[in-house]
């Protein structure tokens, strides 16, 4: 066994060759296909990709939860540095240890807060339970802490919110409550899976401002999952792009969005309508041909090859590109990235 990928550096999490395979009636689905990445302490890593690209599955694996939604075979290594300073492999923890890691070390928030809030309990009892499950606290102290958390979430009337049931709150308020629950034990990593996708942009702006404020205060790291490239660019330090279960590009946000190297990232960025750009009347967007591949039938070679304008037959459809460094801290999976970057590819 190789030495720990996080020994002697500033990584909080180091994921190596993560693969998650689901058994389904229609056949095996390789939802995550050999993904490696690190999350540094206190940083925000954005995980971007389209529907079905494997973002949620990768995140759930990080929490030791990928197996919960179905029959899953999980391979690879997920090294996590614990608060006490020692480390563990999430993929090899007992159920009991996993429960301690979840909530205490890593917490997760979802797109739909109702999926993690219990509709029959008040906000107060859910936060108090989250606190007392992981720490030895009196219920009075937990109650006080819950109130403080709601206050920190910018909820206008925390006392009233405490005695409310989730369905009595607006979408934005529920999201704040879910964040409060997630933060109750001061995790060192918050996994946020499309936490603002269902919200209006003005409410999204509130939640993003809130997450940034909390991060500055607590120094936690965030894995922020989104299909919105603009949002990723805005919230994250680094970004990682997934396509059809694989990681295809990774790097500092400014690099990935300014000098994308993977054809998929490039064309995706060009296909987005952007506000306030000069344009001709009737001007078209650059459309990406074809469809997002089905998880049951992933294309051979580079999974993007059927939609890629740089595709070379006999190469791209036969050989899966490996991740290569293409600049400081910038990595890409494309057989032709050098030619494309040099403008020599047609």
């Amino acid at each position: 066994m190789s030495s720990s990928p996080i020994a002697g550096n500033d990584s909080l999490v180091a994921v190596r060759d993560l693969a998650v395979r689901f058994a389904t009636p229609a056949g095996p689905v390789l939802a995550v296909d050999g993904v490696s990445f690190d999350i540094m302490r206190g940083e925000t890593l954005a995980l971007v990709g389209e529907s079905g690209s494997g973002k949620s599955t990768a995140a759930l694996a990080l929490m030791g939860m990928a197996g919960l939604s179905g029959k899953a075979a999980i391979e690879g290594r997920i090294a996590l540095r614990l608060k006490k300073g020692n480390e563990c492999d999430v993929n090899r923890l007992s159920a009991r240890d996993l429960r301690q890691v979840r909530g205490n070390e890593i917490a997760m928030i979802f797109q739909e807060p109702m999926s993690s809030l219990n509709p029959v309990y008040t906000v107060a009892s859910q936060i108090v339970e989250a606190i007392t499950e992981h720490t030895k606290t009196t219920s009075a102290a937990a109650h006080a802490r819950a109130l403080e958390l709601l206050h920190m979430m910018g909820i206008p009337n925390p006392a009233k919110c405490m005695i409310s049931y989730p369905h009595q709150l607006s979408g934005g308020m529920r999201q704040r409550v879910m964040i409060a629950v997630a933060l109750s034990c001061e995790p060192s990593l918050l996994v946020a899976d499309e936490p603002t996708t269902a919200l209006d942009v003005t409410i999204q702006a509130q939640i993003i401002a809130l997450l940034k404020r909390v991060q500055t205060r607590t120094g936690m790291a965030i894995l922020f999952i989104t299909h919105n490239l603009g949002l990723a660019a805005e919230i994250a330090d680094r970004a990682m792009v997934m396509y059809a279960g694989r990681m295809v590009e990774q790097g500092a946000v400014a690099e990935v969005f300014r000098n994308p190297r993977m054809p998929y990232t490039q064309v995706l960025l060009r296909s987005l309508p952007r506000l306030g750009r000069p344009r001709e009347p009737g001007q078209k967007l650059e459309a990406i041909p074809g469809n997002v591949p089905s998880a049951l039938k992933r294309p051979s070679g580079c999974a993007f090859h059927p939609r890629c304008t740089f595709m070379v037959q006999g190469q791209c459809d036969e050989h899966a590109p490996v991740i290569e460094s293409c600049g400081p801290g910038h990595a890409v999976a494309c057989l032709r990235w050098r030619e494309i970057a040099a403008g020599r590819a047609a």
Binding site: D200, T202, I203, N228, G230, A233, E234, L272, L275
Partner: protein
């Protein structure tokens, strides 16, 4: 002004739709959801008007009222100068041919038991637009071709199509009857990012090719700017601002438009706007604030904002906004 007065294709005046709320042990009227109040706008022939606003602001309600898929509580809707709300059933049927709708959700808006061919043929049959079956089939193939689907899709069922393909079938169905006007209610919102551009481009083409007028409903203002000639920004059932798309997005006048645009994230830091984070939530439309409905969240509100509903008025050349501070 001299010269010919052209009648707009669609002319909406003081539209109101309040939904009744009933309840209690002995059901009685308990109040109203004030979904749309005093909304007026025009759409010219071959013009795309974007209707921007957040969830619950009344966009879908407006779209359905102008097509008379639901009955407005009050107001006037004129199509080609004729009073839509006064149409008798036969005239309404003809109107339904001229004015079509495309829905947000390509998954639920197509009947799963019908093939693509049957779905697109249905309006042709209902409106008796083809003399016989072979003619109808040719027309269906032609329509599918218009939306870049080959004839091989004729016998497929919706479940065997991707989201973008389903949305294109929905568009082909809407085009079947040669409409002059289409309400497109969030037509790309449920699509994958890499597929959205295909459908947006299709709408750009169709508009040019058929001279269509479109009421384009979306909460994605960047897509809207791309597609629309003018944009109307709506908040809690009222129009806050209306103006040419490009000018409105570059230089918003109303404080709400300003905040809305500032909240749109952009991948390019050079284009990042100074974020204006609004406090609180959108108020409940059952009991909207007095005066300006935006005042409870408006960074520029003053005491007077509570006292009167600001009318939509010209605030700069070609620009209208409803705000007393402008």
């Amino acid at each position: 002004m001299t010269g010919q007065v052209t009648v707009p294709l669609l002319d909406v005046r003081s539209l109101r739709k309040w939904y009744d709320i009933r309840g209690g042990v002995i059901p009685h009227l308990k109040g109203h959801v004030q979904a749309v109040t005093d909304v007026s706008f025009e759409i010219a022939r071959n013009e795309v008007l974007g209707l921007a606003g957040e969830s619950g602001s009344g966009k879908t309600t407006i779209g359905r009222c102008v097509l008379r898929l639901i009955e407005p509580t009050a107001g006037e809707v004129k199509f080609d100068g004729e009073d839509v709300l006064g149409f008798a059933p036969e005239r309404l049927r003809r109107f339904r041919r001229d004015a079509q709708i495309i829905f947000q959700d390509p998954f639920s808006s197509l009947d799963p038991r019908m093939t693509v061919g049957e779905i697109v043929a249905e309006p042709l049959e209902v409106q008796k637009l083809c003399a016989n079956a072979p003619e109808r089939r040719d027309r269906v193939v032609e329509l599918l071709d218009t939306v870049s689907l080959s004839a091989e899709y004729l016998d497929r069922y919706p479940r065997a199509l991707s989201g973008g393909q389903r949305q294109r079938v929905g568009i082909a169905r809407a085009l079947a009857v040669n409409p002059k006007f289409i309400v497109a209610d969030e037509p790309v919102s449920s699509l994958d990012v890499s597929i959205q551009a295909q459908v947006v481009n299709l709408l750009v083409d169709l508009r040019a090719k058929f001279g269509l007028a479109i009421l384009f409903i979306s909460h994605d203002i960047a897509v809207m700017e791309h597609l629309s000639d003018r944009i109307a920004v709506i908040y809690l059932g009222r129009i806050m601002e209306v103006g040419p798309a490009e000018a409105l997005c570059r230089d918003p006048k109303h404080p709400y438009t300003e905040a809305l645009l500032s909240a749109v994230p952009d991948p390019d830091p050079a284009y990042r706007r100074q974020r204006i984070v609004l406090d609180g939530d959108v108020p409940n439309p059952v009991n909207p604030p007095s005066g300006c409905v935006f005042r409870t969240r408006c960074p520029r509100a003053i005491a007077d904002c509570a006292h009167m509903v600001p009318p939509l008025r010209e605030v700069a050349s070609g620009r209208q906004a409803a705000c007393i501070r402008l």
